[in-house]
Amino acid sequence: MREIDVTRTHDSASRAFPKEAAPMIEMRQVEKFYGPFHALKGIDFSVTKGEKIVLCGPSGSGKSTLIRCINHLEPIASGEIVVAGHRLSDSQDAVDAVRREVGMVFQQFNLFPHKTVLENCILAPMRVRKLSRAEAEETARKYLERVRIGDQAAKYPAQLSGGQQQRVAIARALCMEPKAMLFDEPTSALDPEMVKEVLDTMVSLARDGMTMICVTHEMGFARQVADRVIFMADGEIVEENAPDAFFSNPRHERSRAFLGEILAHH
């Protein structure tokens, strides 16, 4: 297991739940099928504003599917998803409204290879948020600075390391000023020496109060920033627990088996 070093002491206030009751992301009885395959079974959970969730579970358990349903990269069969007050449906307006509020970071970075770092960051703000080029560039520079990559703005993705590319991908999502961020194994495709720079960026984002759902097996990260760990298996949420409790005393047999496996591999 990889521990990321904590330079700042943990600020417990940043973990506290905010007063307002309305959840940022809510899933109710969500069912998802791929053909006959039942990928999500009655998923029910909600994330309040500022909360950080780590989603883990064995391969094929439906983690990616779950977060991809939140921004409608995958349509659902039944159930309900509400994001920042917008109820998701198959209508383009509903999908637009939800995507406007959530950013997503992928395992494979998915930067656009024919656009520079800066162009990657201003494309959607100009098209979707209708910012002027000057406004979009200002926002982009702010977030590139924030992920400590401001000096690479004129480069193309292929000229950057994996860690740098993933930080650009995070900045690109932040440029839309989302209310929540979804991460799908953001460090899994990285060489080990680059994992830390990306995790540090995510930790600092968490500290600034971003609502986050992270699919990750970085248990150090989970312990450090997660308010809750959600463990999935076979398309179901098996266990939901505070990170310390989840790691030291998992309630379910499957969680224990999974943790045993993770520990054996790190």
Binding site: V102, F106, P113, V128, A169
Partner: protein, 220 residues
């Protein structure tokens, strides 16, 4: 047999204009082929039954019939439909449609080679499907298949010779006229061969330069 290239030399002006005519047909044909190619792929991607079927039908008809027949068909069919075009315009249209059918197949392959993650990243940022295609997928897709597209366009350049059949203005028709006037068949066709070779090489070079310019971003 004595060779006499002086008749060819005397006709250098006609040959030069013929060559320019060929280049004009070729490059106009390429532009139309490009438009047809991208439009065809866009229509296929909309995944609507009838339009997709029509595009597929068009591609299959073009790819499974001779160009000579296609160009005669256009030349005689258009007037029946009340459209009168001069032979050169008809030739450009035929070249563009023919090249376009092949371009559809090639460009579609390029689009399919782009990882799904690119589209998903665009959609997740709130872009619409058509924006994702135009702004994110198209350029890398064209880059991926540019060598195939360029060789298809070289083929199109050489195919212009067939346009002599409807008396479009191009190099082969000019050569045939000189031959008819001078009876110097070998000298004329030797010269035409050399000029086509130069045209091909120049076109190849121009397309390569265009590719380097359009796809100048670094790729891993």
């Amino acid at each position: 047999m004595t060779l006499d290239f002086s008749v060819v030399a005397d006709a250098w002006k006609s040959l030069l204009f013929g060559a320019l005519g060929t280049l004009f047909l070729a490059f106009s044909g390429m532009v139309i082929a490009m438009v047809v190619g991208v439009t065809g792929v866009v229509i296929l991607r909309m995944q609507m039954r009838i339009p997709s079927l029509l595009v597929t039908l068009f591609v299959e008809i073009i790819r499974n019939t001779p160009f000579l027949v296609q160009i005669f068909f256009l030349f005689f069919a258009l007037p029946l439909a009340g459209v009168r075009l001069n032979p050169t315009v008809t030739a450009i249209l035929a070249l563009g449609l023919n090249g376009g059918a092949y371009a559809i197949e090639i460009i579609r392959g390029g689009v399919e080679s782009i990882p799904k993650g690119q589209t998903e990243a665009g959609l997740a940022l709130g872009l619409h499907k058509h924006e994702v295609f135009r702004l994110i997928v198209l350029i890398p897709a064209l880059r991926a298949i540019y060598p195939s597209l360029a060789s298809q366009f070289i083929l199109l350049t050489l195919t212009t010779a067939i346009c002599t059949s409807i008396s479009a203005y191009e190099l082969t028709s000019v050569g045939q006229r000189i031959e008819a006037e001078t009876f110097r068949s070998f000298e004329v066709y030797f010269t035409l061969t050399s000029i086509y070779l130069v045209i091909s090489l120049v076109t190849m070079w121009l397309l390569a330069a265009l590719g380097r310019w359009a796809f100048s971003y670094p790729q891993r």
